[in-house]
């Protein structure tokens, strides 16, 4: 009952067939050259649209900006924060020095080095247009780029990459999500790949060919399978191309900073998983013909209880993130100089500590731009202060900067997306002004 005649593959749509073909050549080459596949370039299989690279790291759960970037110089800070307050540089568990007013959480030594090297720009009192306090609606607005939750199923970064010079005509993936699925910010008509590590055995080519044939009449599945084939191949290539000494150094640095934040070993967030993710992201982004943008998620920022000060839970999580950022820079190598990383969250947390040594949902937070392309070494903010009169609704840090203006400016000055696309397609709600001088000329 089983036919031994290979199935006809001419039903498969062309891009998918192309990818199966490339995969086959890739596997053959891997065998022929004893696993070294560096000579092969399969890729996202189209000419590059830009050599600038953009990484968006979403901190889900509402990062406490007042702990990540403590305004220790504000006269109301220590009083509001009680045990959560992070003291001036030099005090026990104190902040890392920035500009005499703001410091960095002691869990962020790499960001601090980058700040010193002019490659980290700190933004404070920043928020999306969302003014309620639901995580899930807040994240929706952070990702859809509009002023209301659930206003679009297309994310701002998808709309943006479609506006890359020649982006619409590009035909291959312009972005990659590091995860099994694509988060809203990247969802939409512009082609996006997703990648996550797999512990499952590889499937043989003939079976895959037949699955591809079966999916020929199913646009969604054939599209997804094509994307998966392209990204798997590149991930395999970058895995064999990882610069081992740099990777080791990164792992060491991360483990050290994580170990420094002592205790609660069991609750420590997955430093190791971040590392694999950022290295693979770097593998994609380094390629000349690679995607221009990458997105990955981190969770665990919802610190209602026992948040801790300079040595607590939040500091440990920040330390894991810091290690991942260091690994990203090291894995990117020369590409770092053409990279901008945006790190942002859905909203901030209450200015005062709550009754359980944590903080509740708030409004404005801190955000971070990082990378060789960033004109850093500065804190950019119009600080509203923390006095009772200055707080938003009497409880939260007041937003004085729209996160969209930061994003718009990066997309314009770094990815060279036209202001027309940005104002009419990417962020069509309202007229949010551009910020000045975020990116090196």
């Amino acid at each position: 009952m089983f036919s031994h005649r290979p199935p006809r593959s001419d039903h498969a749509p062309d891009p998918l067939r192309q990818r199966l073909l490339e995969r086959r050549r890739f596997l053959q080459l891997g065998l022929a050259t004893g696993g070294s596949v560096l000579a092969a370039r399969y890729a996202f299989a189209a000419p590059a649209v830009t050599d600038a690279r953009f990484v968006f790291i979403i901190l889900r759960g509402a990062l406490d900006g007042l702990s990540a970037v403590p305004p220790y110089g504000d006269p109301d800070y220590a009083r509001l924060r009680e045990q959560l307050a992070i003291g001036a540089p030099g005090s026990a568990g104190g902040a890392l020095a920035l500009d005499g007013h703001f410091g960095l959480n002691p869990g962020l030594p790499f960001v601090h080095e980058a700040y010193g090297a002019g490659e980290a720009l700190i933004l404070h009192a920043v928020a999306t247009p969302y003014r309620e306090r639901s995580h899930f609606d807040g994240q929706d607005v952070l990702e859809n780029g509009l002023s209301r939750a659930h206003a679009s199923q297309i994310g701002w970064l998808n709309r943006a990459v479609a506006g890359l010079p020649a982006g619409a005509a590009h035909g291959a993936e312009l972005g990659v999500a590091l995860g099994q699925n694509v988060p809203l910010v990247l969802r939409g008509p512009a082609p996006i790949a997703s990648w996550s590590p797999s512990k499952l055995p590889d499937i043989d080519d003939d079976t895959l060919q037949r699955i591809a044939d079966r999916y020929a009449s199913d646009p969604l599945l054939s599209h997804r399978l094509g994307d998966a084939l392209a990204t798997d191949r590149i991930a395999a290539e970058s895995a064999s191309a990882i610069d081992e000494p740099a990777a080791m150094a990164a792992a060491e640095a991360t483990n050290m900073s994580a170990a420094a934040a002592a205790g609660a070993a069991a609750a420590r967030p997955g430093v190791g998983r971040y590392l694999e993710t950022v290295r693979t992201a770097a593998g994609f982004l380094k390629r000349e013909d690679g995607p221009a943008v990458a997105v990955f998620d981190t969770t665990g920022w919802d610190t209602h209880y026992n948040e801790g000060g300079g040595q607590g839970q939040l500091t440990q999580r920040l330390s894991a993130l810091d290690g991942a950022l260091r690994a990203l820079k090291e894995s990117l190598g020369a590409t770092w100089s053409r990279t901008t990383v945006l790190i942002a969250t859905e909203f901030g947390r209450t200015a005062a500590a709550n009754g359980t040594r944590g903080t509740d949902h708030g409004t404005a937070a801190a955000a971070l731009l990082l990378g060789g392309a960033v004109r850093g070494g500065r804190v950019v903010c119009d600080w509203p202060g923390l006095s009772a009169r200055a707080l938003y609704e009497g409880r939260d840090l007041k937003p004085t900067m729209d996160l969209r203006s930061v994003i718009k400016t990066v997309l314009r000055d770094h990815l060279q997306i036209s202001t027309r696309t940005l104002d009419t397609q990417v962020f069509p709600d309202g007229t949010v002004p551009y910020a000045a001088d975020l990116i090196r000329a």
Partner: protein
């Protein structure tokens, strides 16, 4: 032919996936088969090996005490402190695994798969997540104690059981929340310490469990409701909040904020715990709650963006019955939109693995592997990672990498089982009238039995429900 389609929809969309032999008895009465599952009481788990929350948390008490003592002794020996810290997850993890296996066992073997799917729906609606260590051991007992007994009962009873369960109180931090004018806070103030509210539970009850995010409540409502809920705590523990048996709900009057509160434009003057019970009672039958629940049910059983008419009908059934859940489910079954077209929902990894396990009639010894497959496919059991639960739209699950993992997993399973399972024979038994000619043909033309099985398990109509 159309009759076959309804049987497959009943088994695959409403149930957890057809087992060989399931579709024939459903026959032409798919709705009747579903309605019959609403009778027969609560879908409880049958296993002697499972412990109650009280037993589990009582067992944790000596470990917690040891950990406290090690910390108080100072950090002189960091390695010893770390070793003690590991003891709690070492105690809790096997309990979690045990519960996860019992949960998989029930899903693979249930003869009331619609009832079992409803258990999963409600566990996800009232989500707790084991990535918070405090609930690692009790996410399973939470489902057994707070969800299952009420799945065929009233929404209000489930709501109260959930919000008084230690797992939810710990997950959303309420056991630590203190009324700013409570006796305990006043005593602490005299010693120069500030104790106060944690509004996490109050906010998520309003936003996620009952009214829904757009219902028009304000920050003031959230704060007032948080005050109402002060004192809702659990026994065991340490220091200022220690009292009562470990692992049971305890109301602590010394922590409760005294006085009248206004929540969603209504005054609540009751004392102590009665105040919170009254608020929950009103929330449970409020019109926005009915609409919120109806929308989620319609999204789960009809479409990612369900049309207005069935949502309206389901919400009316909820309101008219005062949240009598079987009446609400009947409105879902009676919605023609749910039977409109086959295969509209892309399966979540959970849907996929349960349907695969049922379809292949996996033996009990594979349950542990099914539990780890949840991890591989990105939906670890009892770990939605957020109080909003797992998302329920296709676009949250149909990523390229997610699809590739299903293909690889199907292939690995097929390699193992192909000498005992015949794909060509199974396909019509699992997919009934939804089996396409293209899939039938691809299976028939496969080069090996294993490849045929992979082609069945990766078929477009098997990836959707």
């Amino acid at each position: 032919m159309a009759i076959d389609v309804t049987a497959a929809i009943a088994a695959n969309r409403f149930g957890l996936g057809a087992r060989p032999g399931d579709l024939a008895p459903i026959g032409t009465d798919a709705r009747g088969w579903l309605r019959a599952q609403l009778h027969g009481g609560a879908p409880q788990l049958q296993s002697d090996a499972l412990q109650s929350t009280e037993q589990i948390l009582a067992g944790a008490e000596p470990i917690l005490r040891e950990r406290r003592e090690a910390r108080q002794a100072g950090n002189a020996d960091a390695a010893a402190v770390a070793k003690v810290a590991m003891r709690l997850p070492q105690y809790l993890r096997p309990i979690y695994v045990n519960d996860a296996r019992a949960w998989v066992h029930a899903a693979l073997l249930s003869n009331r798969p619609f009832a079992e799917r409803l258990v999963h729906f409600w566990s996800n609606h009232f989500a707790v997540s084991i990535d918070k260590q405090a609930v690692l051991g009790i996410a399973g007992s939470f489902e057994r104690e707070a969800i299952r007994p009420h799945v065929m009962g009233r929404f209000g009873d489930m709501l109260l059981a959930v919000e008084t369960h230690p797992a939810m109180l710990l997950y959303l931090d309420n056991q630590q929340s203190v009324g700013p004018n409570s006796m305990l806070a006043q005593r602490a103030a005299q010693r120069g310490r500030t104790l106060g509210l944690n509004e996490n539970l109050a906010r998520e009850i309003l936003e996620l469990h009952t009214l829904g995010v757009d219902a028009g409540y304000t920050q003031i409502d959230v704060t007032s409701f948080a005050k109402v809920l002060t004192g809702w705590s659990l026994g065991g523990g340490q220091g200022r909040l220690a009292s009562g048996p470990a692992g049971t709900f305890v109301f602590r009057p010394e922590v409760h904020e005294p006085g009248v509160q206004t929540v969603a434009r209504k005054r609540y003057a009751q004392a102590d715990q009665a105040q919170g019970i009254a608020v929950l009672g009103d929330l449970a039958v409020a019109a926005p709650t009915a609409r919120h629940i109806a929308t989620k049910l319609a999204r789960h059983f009809i479409a990612d963006d369900p049309p207005a008419a069935p949502v309206e009908r389901i919400a009316r059934a909820f309101e008219r019955s005062g949240g009598d859940l079987p009446a609400v489910y009947a409105a879902v079954i009676d919605s023609p939109e749910a039977w409109d077209s086959a295969n509209v929902k892309f399966k979540t990894p959970q849907d996929y693995l349960f349907s695969l396990g049922r379809g292949l009639a996996l033996p009990p010894e594979s349950e542990a592997r099914v539990v780890s497959a949840f991890d591989l496919l990105g939906q670890r059991a009892f770990a939605p990672g957020s109080p909003a639960g797992w998302p329920d739209r296709s676009s949250d699950w149909d990523g390229a990498s997610a699809l590739m993992k299903r293909i690889e997993l199907s292939d690995a399973v097929a390699q193992k089982l192909s000498d005992q399972r015949d794909a060509a024979q199974l396909a019509p038994q699992l997919l009934g009238g939804t089996l396409s000619a293209a899939t039938r043909e691809s299976i028939a033309r496969a080069a090996s039995p294993a490849q045929a099985l992979t082609l069945l398990l990766t078929a477009p109509e098997f990836l959707r429900r």
